[in-house]
């Protein structure tokens, strides 16, 4: 019954309630949609990084991670790769050679990472072949060919069919170099990546460095589903317990390889919650004001309720309930509208190209953002609204409790 009175009281001053409900709804839509946008940005960055750059999981020789010298290869890389391929969650595996090198043209040079790959395997693991804007992806047939990023091509003033000179230190530390013909130019959503990567055939790279082409110092693993990254890492750690204990290999997930990306995800999350809190605290003041007005208007009525025998505890609950109902109504409206907005942009994407396509690409983002809001965020929003409502109701409820029935009833209406 108390609940019925509280709920009906809400609709006595329809305009006032509508104003506050709208304010709460707008506040929540603002926070949720912002979170959807930010999560969409980070998702997209993470997905792009996994698809084009680091894959889900990588395996190296631990010594290679300390200083990327090409001589630190993975013992029995082929066999390891084959074992990994048997895992249900694994989509594809690529064995690579990787090293830091200098790429240069007649006019300029740049520090780059050179990958030696097997095109057929690499295509399964990395989406880079989908980002070729000129020419073609590497094929096994054409020896001493390379693909480079558009940014790098520009920097070195190189075009299709030009030769890029790759200079690196071989296993003995001697500087060697080779000329590679550019057969393709790629452009991903990350300019920094495009500016610093050169891909050549693994067999060419092995030859340049005096290796057998079976040697690898990186195994990249792509999974069927990004969410299983953690569990697959756990499984692989078990499978290769011996090798890991012998310091032959180390298994890393994408967030260990790119810790900055992981921090970015966490910081974005943190800001979403902070933003939510700030908005709700601001709304709390509006709620307090509304409820104080409601209590003051109903002085006489509250006096009568007290006279009839409604205990202080029930008077208190009545005001708290009314505040909570008011806030929950606003929250519900806000969340429902947010869900539909987020849903829309999660399907069709939010096109940012009209503001800053170039700028976004230069920091590793594509210009279409697909919104995502986690269930946790909706849950946190709902819980925090209730919490804020209860806190906001305390001062109006205490005001109601201070009323004395005899005096309150004398009050004019």
């Amino acid at each position: 019954m108390l609940a019925a009175i509280a709920w009906r009281n809400l609709w006595r001053n329809k305009l006032r309630s509508a104003v506050i409900i709208t304010a709460i709804a707008i506040g929540i839509i603002g926070t949720v949609v912002t979170d959807g946008f930010m999560s969409g940005m980070t998702d997209q960055r993470v997905n792009a990084a996994i698809a084009n750059e680091v894959s889900n999981i990588q395996i190296h020789n631990p010594a290679f991670l300390l200083n990327e010298e090409i001589k630190y290869t993975i013992p029995q890389a082929q066999k390891t790769g084959n074992t990994i391929r048997k895992n249900q969650d694994v989509k594809a595996v690529s064995l690579r050679l990787k090293c830091q090198a200098m790429a240069s043209s007649a006019i300029a040079g740049a520090g780059v990472t050179v990958y030696g790959i097997r095109p057929d395997d690499e295509k399964q693991v990395s989406a880079l072949h989908e980002h070729i804007i000129k020419g073609n992806y590497l094929s096994g047939k054409q020896r001493f060919s390379a693909i480079i990023g558009q940014k790098l091509a520009k920097k070195l003033d190189l075009g299709m069919d030009d030769k890029v000179i790759v200079t690196l230190a071989d296993t003995t530390g001697t500087i060697t170099s080779g000329a590679f013909q550019i057969v393709g130019i790629f452009k991903t959503s990350n300019d920094m990546f495009d500016e610093s990567h050169v891909f050549i055939l693994k067999s060419d790279m092995a030859k340049l460095m005096g290796f057998s082409s079976a040697s690898s110092n990186e195994i990249a693993i792509l999974l069927n589903n990004n969410h299983s990254t953690r569990s697959v890492v756990r499984e692989l750690n078990k499978t290769f317990k011996k090798e890991i204990a012998a310091h032959q290999i180390v298994i890393q997930s994408w967030d260990q390889i790119l810790p900055i990306l992981k921090s970015l995800v966490e910081i974005m999350d943190y800001f979403s919650y902070l933003f939510l809190l700030i908005i709700l605290v601001a709304l709390a003041f509006a709620i307090i004001n509304t409820m104080l007005m409601a209590v003051m208007e109903r002085t006489r009525e509250i006096g009568i309720l007290m006279a009839l025998g409604l205990s202080k505890r029930k008077i208190f609950s009545l005001i708290v309930l009314e505040t909570v109902f008011l806030s929950i109504t606003g929250a519900l409206v806000g969340i429902l509208i947010s869900i539909s907005i987020v849903y829309h942009y999660s399907i069709y994407g939010f096109d940012l190209s009209f503001v800053a396509a170039g700028g976004l690409n230069s920091i590793g983002y594509s210009s279409t953002i697909f919104f995502r809001v986690s269930n946790n965020f909706y849950l946190a929003t709902a819980i925090m609204v209730i919490l804020i409502a209860v806190l906001s109701s305390i001062s109006p409820a205490l005001k109601a409790l201070k009323l004395q029935p005899a005096k309150a009833i004398r009050e004019d209406i």
Binding site: R300, I304, L308, K312, Q404, A406
Partner: protein, 230 residues
């Protein structure tokens, strides 16, 4: 034994710059089944006295007993509970909870007393019937006339069968016909349920119906007449 016994009570309002002596030594006994009017000029202390009789306020000095209970001995929480279980109220106007229907208003106290739903509804409907307003049971106060609202208030006050009912100028905002109707109803309830009524009034028509008239002036009782056979 009297239902109510007031012993030499004083009430001083201290909130104003000059303290107001609203009651100056009042002695009064109310017996069960009485239909008593408290009359007196404006400002004489009627409301103050009724508030004390109804446990809404405490005297500054003196004692008030409701049967064996000295209201001064009760904590604020106990006093609230005491009102809930023992005293019915009808105020001058706007008595009802605006968001509840006539029936819900009538049930309200029973609900606070945790009376089972079936019994509650039955009792509420019986009383709405008795005050002649059963057909408006689902109307909210805003959809009822002043007289109808007061009848619902009487039904609510009676529903929980309190020991007595306090009514502070219940007819003040009513026209003469509604006043007559309401008085008729209260008198009938007094006969039928033997309910004790104490009301304050200026209204001659109300006084004419009273079995006992207590006159108060300047916070003192200056007259107390009983009319047998009314």
């Amino acid at each position: 034994m009297s239902i109510i016994e007031v012993k030499n009570i004083y009430k001083v309002y201290n909130e104003t710059k000059v303290p107001v002596n609203a009651l100056n030594g009042v002695d009064l006994k109310i017996e069960e089944g009485e239909f008593t009017a408290i009359v007196g000029p404006s400002g004489s202390g009627k409301t103050t006295l009724l508030n004390i009789l109804g446990g809404l306020d405490l005297p500054s000095k003196g004692d008030i007993f409701i049967e064996e209970t000295n209201l001064k001995d009760l904590s604020s929480r106990q006093l609230t509970d005491f009102r809930l279980h023992n005293i019915g109220f009808v105020f001058q106007s706007y008595n009802l909870i605006p968001v509840l229907t006539a029936k819900e208003n009538t049930e309200f106290i029973l609900q606070l007393q945790k009376v089972p739903k079936k019994e509650r509804i039955q009792k509420a409907m019986e009383l709405l019937e008795a005050v002649g307003i059963a057909d408006k049971a689902d109307h909210r106060p805003g959809q009822l006339s002043g007289g109808q609202q007061q009848r619902v208030a009487v039904a609510r006050a009676l529903a929980s069968q309190p020991r007595f009912i306090i009514a502070d100028e219940p007819t003040a905002n009513l026209d003469s016909r509604s006043t007559n109707d309401l008085l008729e109803i209260m008198a009938e309830m007094n006969r039928k349920y033997h309910s004790t009524f104490i009301f304050a009034t200026h209204d001659q028509r109300v006084m004419d119906k009273a079995h006992r008239i207590v006159t108060i002036d300047d916070g003192k009782i200056i007259g107390d007449e009983t009319f047998k056979g009314r």
